[in-house]
C-alpha cells in the first residue's frame, strides 16, 4: 500500500503549492492596488500558520516513513519557516507591508520553486508505486524487486532519443 502513502504526500504537496500561489496572488493584487493592506494581511495571515503546520507534517511524515533523502530536502524550508516563526516575523505586518513586499514575494517564489521540484519527485514516486502495486496484484513479476530509481533509469533508457 505504498502508493497510498505517496498519494498523501502528493496531496499535501499540492496544498502547499496552492497556499504559496495564493499568497503570491495576494501580494500581486496588493501591488496592483486591488487589495488594501488590511485585507491582504487578514487573508495572508489566515493561511500562513496552517501552511507552516502542513509543511511540518510533510516533513515529519517523510521522517517516520523512512524517506531520508526527501526528509533532508524538506528540512530546508522547514528551517526557514521555524526561524521566521521564532523571530515572530512570519505574519504580514500591515503597517510595513510595502517595505517588505519584494522580499516576501521573493521568498515565496523560492518556496514555490522548491515545491515544484518536490512535486516532480513525489509524482514520479507515486507513479511507480502505483505501477508496482498494479503489477503486484497481477502476478509476481520481478519488477517488484527492482528499486524505483533503476526503474526510472530503464524508463529513460528506453525513451527514443
Amino acid at each position: 500500500m505504498e502508493w497510498v502513502l505517496w498519494l498523501i504526500f502528493f496531496i499535501m504537496n499540492l496544498l502547499l503549492m496552492a497556499a504559496n500561489i495564493y499568497q503570491l496572488i495576494c501580494l500581486a493584487d496588493l501591488e496592483a492596488d486591488y487589495l488594501n493592506p488590511y485585507e491582504l494581511a487578514s487573508r495572508m495571515n489566515a493561511v500562513i500558520v496552517p501552511e507552516f503546520l502542513l509543511h511540518g507534517a510533510f516533513c515529519i511524515l517523510f521522517l517516520v516513513t523512512g524517506h531520508w533523502f526527501m526528509f533532508l530536502l524538506t528540512l530546508l524550508p522547514a528551517y526557514y519557516n521555524a526561524k521566521k516563526y521564532l523571530a515572530r516575523q512570519h505574519l504580514i505586518d500591515v503597517t510595513e507591508v510595502f517595505r517588505v513586499l519584494n522580499a516576501e514575494k521573493k521568498a515565496r517564489i523560492f518556496k514555490l520553486g522548491f515545491y515544484i521540484v518536490f512535486f516532480v519527485l513525489v509524482i514520479t514516486r507515486l507513479a511507480f508505486s502505483v505501477i508496482n502495486a498494479v503489477f503486484d496484484e497481477d502476478d509476481d513479476l520481478a519488477i517488484t524487486k527492482v528499486p524505483w530509481y533503476l526503474m526510472l533509469w530503464f524508463a529513460l533508457e528506453a525513451m527514443p532519443r
Binding site: N36, Y38, R88, T95, V97, F98
Partner: protein, 1043 residues
C-alpha cells in the same frame, strides 16, 4: 573704489590684457597666497617685461573691498585661510582683473562681517605700496590693476558687492596657472612685505566678504599652512575668480549684465575677450566657462613641524544664516510651488541610471504639504463647481500651470503623461496668438504652482467629519504627583476657545489607571458623570453616545470636568496602568468618527493587553546585534492598534512623561503609523517642564489641522517614487494615509529612474493632498513643480539642496537604527557623504590640480557639517550610555516628521549673546542676526547666551556674568543652584526684555520652547553643547575629511 582711496590715487590700470596676456599667460596670477605664505620663493620678482607696462588704470572696482578689521584673526595662526576657487579659464588667459572695471563702489563694511577677516584693503591691483592693513573705512579698488600682484584675492573681494561680483567673476576668472606664481608687476613691494602679517591679511581680506546671495564666503576659506609648499602652490592655481561661486545657475546663465563698464582692459587675450563678453553682454556662455565650476575647497594637510592639524575650525563653513533655500532655482521656474512645500534633493534629475548611480546622495523629495505660508502668499482656493475638477483622464494628474492647450483651446495635454485630454465645455477659453489661454489671469490653477481645489462629492466616502479630539489621560499616582494632570487640564481648558472647527468640534475624555473611567458629558448635565469600567479583558463602552460630545453644546460640562480633573485623583495611590485596554476603549469611542487622540501617558502599561515590560536594563545587549530590537516595538499589539486607528481616521499624538523607562519605542508606533507625533518629557516636573508642555500642547491643539487626508505624489514618466519615509501609513503602493496632517509634518520619498535613459527635457512632480478642512470642506491641495533633466553630474551637484538631502539622510539613518547598530547607521551616512564629495572631487580636482585639498560644491558646503551634526543628534549619537533609550526613540520619531527648516535648526541650533542687549547697548533685532558658531570658543564667561534649537531654549549664564544681570533675571535667589531655577518675568526692564526675546523667536520658529537654565558652575557647559556638531571638532574631524 580707487577713487575713494586717497592713498592709491596712483593706481594704474594695466593695459589690461596686453601686458600680460601673451607672455605670461600661464602665470598670470600670483596669488597673494605667496605673500601670505611664508614662502618667499613663490614670489617671483617681477616677471618678464610684459608686466611691467602697466598703464595706469584706475578703476578698480573689482578689487577693492575692504574688509573691516574686526573679524580678523591674527595671522599668527600660521595658517591663512583662503578660499580656493577653481580658476576657470585656461591659463592662457590672463584674467586680469582689469576687465572688471566696475563702477567704483564702496562696499559696506557689514558685508564683511565674517569672522576671519582681515582688513585687507588691498585689492590686488593696487600698488603694492598700500599699507597692508587699511583702515576699514576706505574701500579700495584698483581693479584694473588687478592683474598684478594679487590678482587672486581680488576676485573674491569682489564678491562682496553683488554687482561687482558678477562682473568680477566673469572677468576675473583667473587662470589657474598655479604653478608659476609670478609676481605681479609690483613684485617688489610684495616680496618685501613680511610674509605673514600684512600680506596675509590682504589675502584674506579679499576672501572674506560674503556674497550677499550666498552664505558667507568665509566658510569656504581654508586654513592653509603657510609653510607648505604644496598647498601653497595649489592655492595659486586654485584661486579662481569667485565667479564659480555664483550659486547654482548663475554660471550657466551667464552673468548679468553689468552696468556698462568700459572694458578697461583691452581684450587682448582670449581670455580678455571672454570676459568682455560676459560682462558686457551677459550671455550665458557656458562653453567658455567650462572651467568655472562653483566649488570651494578646503585644504586639510597639516603643517609639517606643527602640532596642529592643518584645519582651522574658524574657517569651516557654518550655516549661521540658517537654512538657505536654493533661490535661484525658484526664479528659474516661477510657476513651481514654493520650496516650503516641496524640496528635491537635487533639482537636476539625472538623465540616465548610470548618472544617477554616480550621485551617491539619495535622489528624492521632501514634501510638507501644509507648510505655513507667510501672509500674502496663501494658497489660492479654486472652486470648479460647474465643470468638475479637471484631471488627466489617463494618469489622474490635476490641471496645473505646466499643461499646454492645443487645438484652439479644445484640448489640453497633460504634462506628466502627455495624454491629450478634452477641455470640458465650461472650462473652455480661446487661445491667444501665443497659445496662451485668454483667461489665464483669472485661473490661478494655470499660473500658480500651489492651489487648492474644493472637492465635490465624489471625493468623499462619507460626509466631511467634524474635528474631534479625545483625550486619554493617565491618572495614576505619578501623573498626579508630577503635576502633569494639572498642567494638562489647565492647558486644554485655555485652548477650548481656539480649537479649530467651531462650532462642530467634538470632544471627549477618558482617564485610566488600573481601571478605565469614562465621562458622560451630555449637555443637559451640570456635572460630568464618571463611569468606571474595571473589566479589562472584555472592554465595553458604558454609553453609546455622550462620551464624545459637541464642544459648543457641552461647554459648561467640559469646563466643569477640566476644573475638577486634578483634584479628582488627588488622593490616588494607584500605580498600575491599564493602557492597552484604555486604548481599545478610546478606539471604540472614536471609530465612528475618527479624529485626534491625545494620549498622556505616565506609567509603563502593566495591565491587560499591550502590557509592556522593562527593557533596556540588560547592558550586555548594547553593542551586540540584538541592540536594535530595543528600538523596535516589543508587542505587535501597538502596531495592530496603529493600523486600526489609521483605518478609522484616528491620529494619535503621544505625550510621555515617565521618569522611568516607559518604552517609547513601542508606544511611539501608535503615533508613527497614524501621522502623529511623539512628545517626551523625561522626569516631568510641572515646575520645570510645565511651560514646555503648555506651549507644545497649545500648538498641537490650535494649529490648523487637516483631517482624514490622503496624499499622493505623482511624477512624470521615467521616474518613480520607490519608498516613503515619515510618520504615516501607506494605503497602497503610493498612497499615503494621514488621519491628520498639519504644518509641522513633512514626508520624504526616494526616487528612482525606471528607464535607463530619460529623453524628456524636464520631469514634473505633483503632490496632491485630499483632506477635510476643519471647517468641514473637502479640499485637494495640489503642488506642482518642474525640474530639468540634466546630463551632467556637475549640474546635479550645482542644483543640490543640502536641507532636503539632510532631511532624507536623517530619515534613512533613523530607520536604519531600527534594524542595525547605531554605529552602522552613522557610518552609512558618513560613507555616502564621503562618496559624494569624492565623486565631485574626481570631477574637478585633476583638472585643477587641487591635490591635497577637499573641494565641494557651493550647494553642499554645509553637507559635511550637517552630516556630522546628524551623527551627533539624539537618535544616532554615541552608545547606550549617551542617551536614554526612551529619549533616543522619542527623538527618532520626532525627527521623522520634522520639516526641513526645523530639522536643520535642531541639528544646528542658533546661539545668541544677549547680555549686551539687556544692558541696552544693542538693538534687539541685531541680536537675532548675530548667530554664533557652536563652539565652546564662542562662549565667554562674562556673557549671557541663548541657545535655541526650536524645541527649547537653553540660557547660559557665564560664570563671571555681572551679578546684577543674574539678579534682575532670576530674582533674589539667583545665587542658588541654577539648574533648579525657573525663569519668569520679574518687574524690571532687563527681565522684560529677555522675556520678549524668548517670545519673539518662539513665534518665528513656530515650534515650541521650553525653558531651561544652566550655568557653568557645575561644568555643565560641555553638557549643553555636547551635541553641537562643532564642539570638539579639534579632536575629531568631520567625516568628510577622510578624503
Amino acid at each position: 573704489m580707487g577713487t575713494e582711496n586717497p592713498k592709491h590715487p596712483t593706481y594704474q590700470l594695466r593695459p589690461a590684457a596686453t601686458p600680460f596676456a601673451a607672455p605670461q599667460s600661464a602665470t598670470p596670477f600670483v596669488s597673494s597666497g605667496p605673500v601670505v605664505g611664508s614662502e618667499a620663493s613663490a614670489f617671483r620678482p617681477a616677471p618678464p617685461s610684459s608686466q611691467i607696462p602697466t598703464p595706469p588704470f584706475s578703476s578698480g572696482p573689482l578689487v577693492g573691498l575692504e574688509a573691516p578689521a574686526p573679524g580678523y584673526r591674527p595671522p599668527s595662526l600660521g595658517r591663512s585661510n583662503e578660499i580656493v576657487r577653481p580658476p576657470p579659464p585656461p591659463p592662457s588667459s590672463l584674467a586680469n582683473g582689469p576687465p572688471l572695471t566696475g563702477p567704483f563702489q564702496r562696499f559696506p563694511a557689514p558685508q564683511f562681517t565674517t569672522t576671519g577677516q582681515v582688513p585687507a584693503p588691498h585689492t590686488f591691483g593696487q600698488p603694492a605700496v598700500l599699507p597692508p592693513t587699511r583702515p576699514p573705512g576706505g574701500a579700495i579698488s584698483s581693479p584694473p590693476v588687478s592683474l598684478q600682484p594679487y590678482p587672486q584675492p581680488s576676485p573674491i573681494s569682489m564678491g562682496s558687492s553683488p554687482q561687482n561680483i558678477k562682473t568680477g567673476q566673469s572677468s576675473m576668472s583667473f587662470p589657474p596657472s598655479s604653478d608659476q606664481p609670478f609676481s605681479p608687476p609690483r613684485p617688489n613691494v610684495q616680496p618685501s612685505s613680511p610674509p605673514m602679517g600684512p600680506s596675509y591679511p590682504i589675502a584674506r581680506g579679499n576672501f572674506q566678504p560674503p556674497f550677499p546671495g550666498y552664505a558667507s564666503l568665509q566658510p569656504n576659506t581654508v586654513a592653509q599652512a603657510p609653510g607648505q609648499p604644496d598647498s601653497f602652490s595649489s592655492q595659486h592655481g586654485g584661486y579662481g575668480p569667485p565667479a564659480p561661486q555664483i550659486p547654482f545657475l548663475a554660471q550657466q546663465r551667464g552673468y548679468m549684465p553689468v552696468p556698462p563698464v568700459p572694458p578697461v582692459s583691452a581684450p587682448t587675450g582670449l581670455y580678455a575677450r571672454d570676459q568682455m563678453q560676459h560682462y558686457g553682454i551677459a550671455p550665458p556662455i557656458a562653453t567658455s566657462q567650462g572651467l568655472a565650476e562653483d566649488f570651494n575647497s578646503l585644504s586639510l594637510g597639516s603643517v609639517p613641524g606643527s602640532f596642529n592639524t592643518g584645519l582651522d575650525p574658524a574657517a569651516l563653513p557654518r550655516p549661521l544664516e540658517g537654512d538657505v533655500e536654493p533661490k535661484s532655482f525658484a526664479e528659474m521656474y516661477p510657476m513651481n510651488c514654493s520650496s516650503r512645500y516641496l524640496r528635491l534633493t537635487t533639482s537636476g534629475i539625472p538623465n540616465s541610471q548610470s548618472l544617477a548611480s554616480r550621485w551617491h546622495v539619495p535622489l528624492g523629495a521632501v514634501v510638507c504639504p501644509l507648510a505655513e505660508a507667510p501672509d500674502g502668499e496663501e494658497v489660492p482656493i479654486v472652486n470648479f463647481a460647474t465643470t468638475g475638477i479637471i484631471r488627466c483622464r489617463r494618469c489622474r494628474t490635476y490641471v496645473n500651470p505646466y499643461v499646454t492647450f492645443a487645438d484652439h483651446g479644445r484640448k489640453w495635454r497633460c504634462n506628466i503623461c502627455s495624454f491629450l485630454n478634452d477641455v470640458p465645455g465650461d472650462y473652455f477659453a480661446h487661445l491667444d496668438a501665443s497659445g496662451r489661454r485668454v483667461d489665464l489671469d483669472q485661473r490661478p490653477e494655470l499660473t500658480k504652482g500651489s492651489v487648492e481645489f474644493i472637492a465635490p462629492a465624489e471625493y468623499m466616502v462619507r460626509p466631511p467629519m467634524p474635528p474631534s479630539y479625545i483625550f486619554l489621560i493617565d491618572a495614576s499616582i505619578s501623573a498626579v504627583k508630577s503635576g502633569m494632570l494639572e498642567v494638562v487640564a489647565q492647558t486644554i481648558k485655555s485652548c477650548l476657545d481656539n480649537l479649530p472647527g467651531y462650532p462642530r468640534t467634538q470632544i471627549g475624555f477618558i482617564t485610566f489607571d488600573s481601571t478605565i473611567h469614562f465621562y458622560n458629558m451630555k449637555s443637559s448635565l451640570m456635572q460630568p458623570q464618571m463611569m468606571v469600567v474595571s473589566d479589562l479583558d472584555d472592554i465595553f463602552i458604558p454609553l453609546p453616545d455622550d462620551l464624545l460630545v459637541n464642544l459648543s453644546e457641552s461647554r459648561n460640562v467640559v469646563d466643569a470636568f477640566l476644573d475638577s480633573l486634578p483634584s479628582m485623583f488627588k488622593g490616588s495611590m494607584n500605580v498600575e496602568s491599564a493602557f492597552g485596554p484604555a486604548l481599545k476603549a478610546a478606539f471604540m469611542v472614536m471609530s465612528q468618527l475618527g479624529g485626534k487622540l491625545l494620549i498622556f501617558q505616565n506609567t509603563l502599561p502593566s495591565l491587560g493587553a499591550g502590557r509592556l515590560r522593562l527593557r533596556g536594563d540588560d547592558i550586555r545587549v548594547y553593542g551586540t546585534d540584538k541592540e536594535h530590537a530595543l528600538r523596535l516595538p516589543e508587542d505587535p499589539f501597538y502596531k495592530q492598534m496603529a493600523a486600526d486607528f489609521t483605518k478609522y481616521q484616528i491620529a494619535v499624538n503621544l505625550y510621555a512623561f515617565s521618569d522611568k523607562y516607559t518604552d517609547v519605542a513601542s508606544l511611539g508606533t501608535l503615533a508613527k503609523y497614524t501621522g502623529g507625533q511623539v512628545y517626551y518629557y523625561p522626569s516631568f516636573q510641572s515646575t520645570i517642564h510645565g511651560e514646555k508642555l503648555r506651549h507644545e500642547l497649545t500648538r498641537d491643539l490650535t494649529r490648523e489641522t487637516a483631517w482624514e487626508a490622503v496624499m499622493r505624489i505623482r511624477c512624470g514618466k521615467g521616474v518613480r517614487f520607490t519608498s516613503y519615509h515619515g510618520n504615516f501609513m501607506l494605503r497602497s503602493t503610493d498612497l499615503i494615509a494621514l488621519p491628520a496632517v498639519d504644518c509641522d509634518k513633512a514626508y520624504a520619498a526616494q526616487l528612482s529612474l525606471e528607464e535607463t535613459l530619460l529623453t524628456t527635457q524636464s520631469v514634473y512632480f505633483q503632490v496632491a493632498l485630499l483632506y477635510t478642512s476643519s471647517s468641514g470642506e473637502r479640499r485637494i491641495r495640489v503642488h506642482t513643480a518642474e525640474a530639468p533633466v540634466v546630463a551632467d553630474l556637475g549640474e546635479m551637484y550645482r542644483l543640490a539642496d543640502t536641507g532636503a538631502i539632510i532631511s532624507l539622510f536623517s530619515r534613512l539613518a533613523i530607520e536604519k537604527t531600527l534594524s542595525y547598530k547605531l554605529e552602522e547607521a552613522r557610518n552609512a551616512i558618513q560613507l555616502r557623504i564621503v562618496k559624494a564629495l569624492r565623486e565631485y572631487r574626481n570631477l574637478y580636482a585633476v583638472q585643477h590640480r587641487l591635490s591635497g585639498r577637499m573641494i565641494y560644491p557651493e550647494s553642499l558646503k554645509f553637507l559635511p557639517l550637517y552630516g556630522l551634526a546628524l551623527c551627533k543628534s539624539t537618535p544616532l549619537r554615541g552608545g547606550y550610555a549617551d542617551v536614554q533609550l526612551d529619549e533616543r526613540c522619542a527623538a527618532g520619531f520626532t525627527m521623522m516628521a520634522l520639516p526641513v527648516k526645523n530639522l536643520l535648526k535642531l541639528l544646528y541650533p542658533s546661539l545668541f549673546r544677549v547680555d549686551d542687549h539687556l544692558l541696552e547697548t544693542e538693538e534687539f533685532h541685531n541680536i537675532l542676526k548675530k548667530r554664533l558658531p557652536l563652539t565652546s570658543g564662542s562662549l565667554d564667561t562674562s556673557g549671557l547666551y541663548i541657545y535655541d534649537d526650536g524645541f527649547r531654549f537653553v540660557i547660559w549664564f557665564g560664570m563671571s556674568l555681572l551679578p546684577g544681570i543674574a539678579r534682575n533675571l532670576l530674582g533674589e535667589d539667583f545665587a542658588a543652584d541654577y539648574s533648579m531655577v525657573t525663569l519668569s518675568e520679574h518687574d524690571n526692564d532687563m527681565s522684560r526684555k529677555l522675556m520678549r526675546i524668548l517670545k519673539k523667536p518662539a513665534v518665528l520658529i513656530a515650534i515650541l520652547t521650553g525653558f531651561y537654565n544652566y550655568t557653568d558652575k557645575s561644568n555643565k557647559k560641555r553638557n549643553i553643547l555636547f551635541h553641537d556638531p562643532d564642539d570638539s571638532i579639534d579632536s575629531r574631524q568631520p567625516p568628510v575629511m577622510v578624503n
